[in-house]
């Protein structure tokens, strides 16, 4: 995993990441753009990988579908020359019920396109919802995302499972997890995503020998 990022980091001392997604990437619902998950991720990576040149670009646009983002791969994402793309998607496709087969195809083609460009990919799972029954096919779409990712050898960041476990614990209030004014985990959740992603990326890049101490 993350072989391109490892190689580029070793050769150039650089780690360039693009966060592609809809509103939970853009950071809507947070009080400040600095509190979106990509901003947290950048800060965490810089702290954990001192002396490295780290850049996380936030290309999240609220409400976008997987296909709209797929079209942006060619025009916006690949030209940024990142070594890693974190793609958060599929929720808008699930609630609009675009067709499972179509979603699978879009994700597969997207993964393939990035692979051809020599860019690592991590897919972010869909969010956990308080009342999933509103969208009867929600789980089917999640399954599509999981299956496509495993078929294409792409790791999935388990956002759904994280949110679900928070909902069962008392770590967050419901407001913090789902947020009245945003479907996303607002700030607290963004912060956790940023940290957990940094954990995963750093341990993968350094083979588990993480320099510096984790915060939590």
């Amino acid at each position: 995993m993350l072989s391109a990022s490892k190689r580029v980091l070793a050769e150039t001392n650089r780690l360039t990441i693009v966060a592609l997604g809809s509103s939970s990437t853009a950071g809507t619902g947070a009080s400040d753009p600095d509190r979106s998950y990509p901003a947290v991720l950048e800060a965490e990576l810089r702290r954990r990988l001192p002396g490295r040149e780290i850049k996380v670009t936030n290309l999240g646009v609220g409400g976008q579908s997987a296909y709209e983002m797929y079209l942006r791969l060619e025009s916006e994402i690949i030209p940024e020359k990142p070594s890693l793309v974190i793609w958060q998607t599929a929720v808008n496709d699930a609630i609009r019920d675009i067709g499972e087969e179509k979603l699978a195809k879009i994700l597969r083609k997207g993964a393939h396109k990035l692979q051809e460009a020599g860019i690592d990919l991590v897919l972010m799972d869909m969010p956990w919802l308080q009342r999933e029954g509103r969208y009867p096919k929600y789980d089917d779409y999640r399954a599509v995302l999981a299956k496509t990712a495993s078929d294409s050898g792409v790791p999935v960041f388990p956002r759904y499972a994280m949110m679900k476990s928070w909902s069962g614990s008392k770590q967050f209030s419901e407001e913090e997890i789902v947020g009245m004014d945003g479907l996303q985990v607002v700030e607290a959740g963004y912060r956790c995503f940023g940290i957990r992603l940094a954990d995963g990326i750093v341990s993968e890049l350094t083979g588990g020998r993480e320099p510096g101490k984790p915060t939590n």
Binding site: Y67, L71, K102, L129, Y135, D181, L183
Partner: protein, 394 residues
């Protein structure tokens, strides 16, 4: 066919009531499209899976913009011919003002509906579904941007496009009057140039552009203006069997691609292309398969649907025409109904009978609105002429 166009040439002005000079095809097709747009704006509902976008590359929006071009040529083009560029442009300006006010009213209504729904149901996905988050997270900026048409939630992006296209209409029309071919060539050049060069108007917040890139979509509008212009001067549609066959082939090809899951032709070389057509076509920059598909449909309608065809003046045709004649009002009402419908569908977990009920009641309300507005129009027209009649007899 040329008889129809001659009729258009000598028909009365852009009056509301159906007169012999009015092309029923425009009204009926536009009425139909308005209903399709309503149904499609409740995604995930079973009826929308039977709508035309499942069988072709272009969809209701493409037809809508093409018709906008044709009817603008009939309404304002004729006015420019008769009363000059200034009077015609002023009339276009007045229409733009109406559209702008309607857009803003719709914006406020939609924000209000979504805000109410989110407060009542705690489901923040309703905000995401139409990208109205910026309005709630940074209201002052969103309002300023909405006034400048540079913040467009979903569903509130087609009226701004129409406003910009109409603003360009006098220029497009004058060019098309001088040379239809030149108008088309310039328009195609702008479309392709914008697509390749990434030219678009901004959509805030973020670095995105308009969902309907006006530099791309002006191509369909100009195409419509040219069709309308040819109609105004009474040009007939040439009988070209080759084009008829080609158009049918395009439609069949599109349906075959969209309806099958894999490659229906079994030619491995085409796999990738078929795949990319199946996942979608770039709507923002108006991908060329959409244009070809729409052109094929337009050609077949012009060739084989006569403006005096019985189907247009039958019961269904008359109801649809009443709808199509009041497209702004019906479009706005359709958006409000569809967004309300979306919320009701999710709250009832997309139970089948609710889906059917939502479609049926929405369509009934829209048809009723069209009929009511037509009746109201004749009523007020009669009332307006009554005092004059009295004065004449006094």
């Amino acid at each position: 066919m040329s008889g129809f166009w001659r009729l258009m040439l000598f028909g009365k002005g852009p009056r509301e009531a159906a007169s012999p000079g009015r092309d029923l095809r425009i009204d009926v097709i536009r009425g139909l499209i308005l209903l399709v747009i309503f149904v499609n704006h409740m995604p995930g509902n079973i009826v929308s899976s039977a709508m035309p976008h499942n069988y072709g590359f272009s969809d209701a929006a493409d037809v809508f913009v093409l018709l906008a071009g044709i009817s603008a040529a009939f309404a304002y083009g004729r006015l420019i011919d008769q009363r000059g560029l200034l009077v015609g442009s002023l009339k276009v300006g007045a229409r733009i003002w109406t559209l702008y006010i309607a857009h803003l009213a719709l914006f406020v209504l939609v924000c209000g509906i979504v805000a109410t729904a989110v407060v009542r149901t705690q489901n923040a996905l309703y905000v995401e579904a139409i990208n109205i988050q910026p309005f709630f997270s940074d209201t002052p900026a969103a309002i300023v941007n909405a006034l400048g048409l540079v913040y467009q939630p979903y569903y509130l992006d087609i009226l701004p496009l129409y406003i910009v296209l109409l603003a360009a209409f006098p220029l497009i029309y004058v060019t098309a009057r001088t040379s239809p071919l030149a108008a088309l060539a310039i328009s195609v050049a702008i479309w392709q140039g914008a697509t390749l060069g990434g030219l678009n108007l901004p959509n805030h917040p973020g670095d995105g552009g308009w969902f309907f890139n006006p530099f791309a979509w002006q191509m369909l509008f100009t195409f419509g203006v040219v069709i309308g212009r040819l109609g105004l001067v009474g040009a007939g549609v040439p009988k070209l069997r080759v084009l008829d066959i080609a158009a049918v082939m395009v439609l069949l090809f599109a349906a075959a691609v969209k309806l099958s899951s894999g490659n229906p032709f079994g030619v491995a070389l085409l796999n990738d292309w078929i795949d990319s057509l199946q996942i979608g076509t770039d709507k923002t920059n108006l991908a060329w398969p959409r244009v070809v598909h729409l052109a094929a449909m337009a050609w077949l309608v012009l060739r084989f649907l006569r403006s005096d065809a019985g189907i247009l003046s039958g019961l269904a045709g008359r109801r649809l025409a009443a709808l199509g004649r009041h497209s702004l009002e019906v479009f706005c009402a359709g958006i409000v109904l569809a967004i309300t419908g979306q919320i009701i569908l999710a709250e009832t977990s997309f139970v089948l009978w609710v889906q059917l009920l939502m479609n049926l009641s929405g369509i009934t309300i829209l048809l009723g609105l069209g009929t009511f507005l037509s009746w109201y129009k004749t009523l007020t027209a009669r009332a307006a002429s009554a005092p004059r009649d009295q004065a004449a007899t006094a």
